[in-house]
Amino acid sequence: MSTNAHPISHNLLVSASPHITSGETIPRIMYNVILAMLPVCLVSIYYFGYYGIKVLVLTTLFCVGFEYLWQKMLRKPVTISDGSAAVTGILLALNLPPSAPWWLMLVGSFLAVIIAKQLYGGLGYNLFNPALVARVALLISFPVHMTNWIQATPLFSGVDAVTTATPLGILQTAIKTTGSIPPEVMAQVNPSSQNMLTWFTGHMMSGSLGEFSALAILLGGLWLMYKKYIYWQVPVTYIGTVLIFSGIFWMIDPTRYAHPLFHLLTGGLFLGAFFMATDMVTSPVTKKGLLVFGVGCGLITCLIRMWGSYPEGVSFAILLMNGLTPLLDRWFKPTVFGQRKLYEETK
């Protein structure tokens, strides 16, 4: 008898159970997210042509490049192929104005990948969504460049880029200066069927690259939900909260507060609700926590949009709730099987 009696020459592999896997991997998740963002990217390229392509490609390249350099420098395994840096890059691009200069993208990518992600320990350890950290830091540091919006012009229409304000910006300026919504602005912000359609499928105003078509975002979001990469809890509660909260104020005084659908479909709400608030790393792991997370994002967004000094509040709202995520995980644990009251009832 020998200790190696098995008819194979190599040692067997031994580990704790289970011995099979679902085959789910980080790269698969990340590439699916990229796939889901494809419609939004295409829409932004349609509206901004060269500008759109430039921002998308450069930001993604910068982000991946920074991750590569950082990991090479620290002699860590290089993980750019898992797609997470590319996801951050594309998300950041969708959060930038189409007119952003190349150095703004470079600074933004540095902030996102190095400051907000790698300094925290890399993928999985960051507390805040890297793309949003970069966007907010840029917004505060370079307010002029970050709000230099240009008018969306459909591809090949041959119109030159014209500077203009975002719908939410127009609304806020109007309310700040006159105290109510003047009629000419009202025409833009009331949900006539014409307005509704353009808001939903792609409005011809201005804003960040990824804010142009709720439809395209919805397509990507539904794909991610179908693949179970994001849970319905966050988008539904987030958008629902904004709808209800702004609806209440609109009903109280429609001359001071915009229609809830305007809040819903213009600005970055859809992008935030489907692609940024749902970021796995920076949102709670429990279903209950996700519900609270979504409601919190919605409330803060509304508060900032209605009474804050910035016209848009999605990034701030999500970042604030990111900070609360560890606490939400602690407060909203699932009830352990066998600790429910059900037991007494059935017996």
Binding site: L12, S15, A16
Partner: protein
């Protein structure tokens, strides 16, 4: 302006009164010796003495819970100073150092299977009783090294824990961490060690490990039974007796008994 100055200084006076009173009424009586001893202690808070930290130890020494020479890091000089403060007689205690009683690295002792799991000895020990051919030997995943507050344990590239005797202060933190109980504290002057902990019968050991103790009793005979006893197929050394003079390392046929005073091995590890 004047109003503000008056309000603030008034507040300050009130608060200082409050503080003064509080200090008087809620004062905790601290033995002055505790503070003095704390100053002497190394302040590493390693817990090697058994107390929660250095200040806890200082309190315990004054209360008589610990002996004056119980701090393994401070050594004899520290013990002498503490004894002086306490007005005790100085009792010399030889400093101790940790030793890993296993010499079976990957070259000497193979693996039974490829382990795929947590990089931690205690975790590895849960899976099929550890991947090493010898069920008593060092797994080399470094749980002891991570527990050492003084960075005194090196894991060689052949997966064996080795104590850096220059750095080891004998705090003993590594001892309970090892799932196989391979680490013991020995007097620092003892150089000869039996580097095996296997209770397998000799024939089994021979199959698994090139440097394992096969209980041939040669060492026991050399010392005439004084200081080495064969206990369940393993030669065990009694460290209260000094056996360094017997040149046991030349007697042992499996080179299980080795002289461990060489910085040579450690130097090579450091550069490795």
């Amino acid at each position: 302006m004047l109003e503000a100055i008056l309000t603030l200084s008034g507040l300050a006076i009130l608060a200082s009164f409050g503080l003064g009173l509080a200090a008087k009424f809620f004062a905790v009586k601290v033995d002055p010796r505790v503070e003095k001893i704390e100053e002497i202690l190394p302040g590493a808070n390693c817990g090697g003495c058994g107390a929660a930290g250095c200040s806890d130890f200082a309190k315990g020494v004054v209360e008589g819970k610990y002996a004056a020479n119980a701090c393994p890091v401070g050594g004899p000089s520290c013990a002498a100073k503490i004894a002086e403060i306490l007005g005790e007689e100085v009792r010399a205690s030889e400093p101790r150092v940790a030793i890993v009683l296993c010499a079976g690295d990957e070259d000497q002792c193979g693996n039974r299977f490829d382990y795929n799991g947590i990089y931690d000895c205690n975790a590895a020990d849960l899976i099929q009783g550890g991947f090493k051919a010898c069920t008593y030997g060092c797994l080399g995943l470094g749980s002891c090294a991570r527990a050492c507050p003084f960075d005194a344990i090196v894991i060689t590239d052949k997966r064996l824990a080795v104590i850096d005797r220059d750095k080891c202060v004998g705090c003993g933190k590594c001892v309970p961490v090892c799932p196989r109980k391979l680490i013991t504290l020995v007097p620092v002057s003892r150089k000869t060690h039996i580097l095996c902990s296997s209770h397998d019968p000799g024939a089994e050991v021979r199959k698994k490990c090139k440097v394992g103790c096969i209980a041939c009793k040669k060492c026991e005979k050399t010392v005439n039974g004084e200081g080495i006893s064969i206990n369940n197929f393993l030669a065990v050394m009694d460290y209260s007796k000094d056996l360094d003079g017997f040149a046991l390392e030349t007697v042992c046929p499996t080179h299980t008994i080795q002289r461990v005073d060489q910085p040579a091995l450690q130097e090579s590890e450091k550069t490795a």
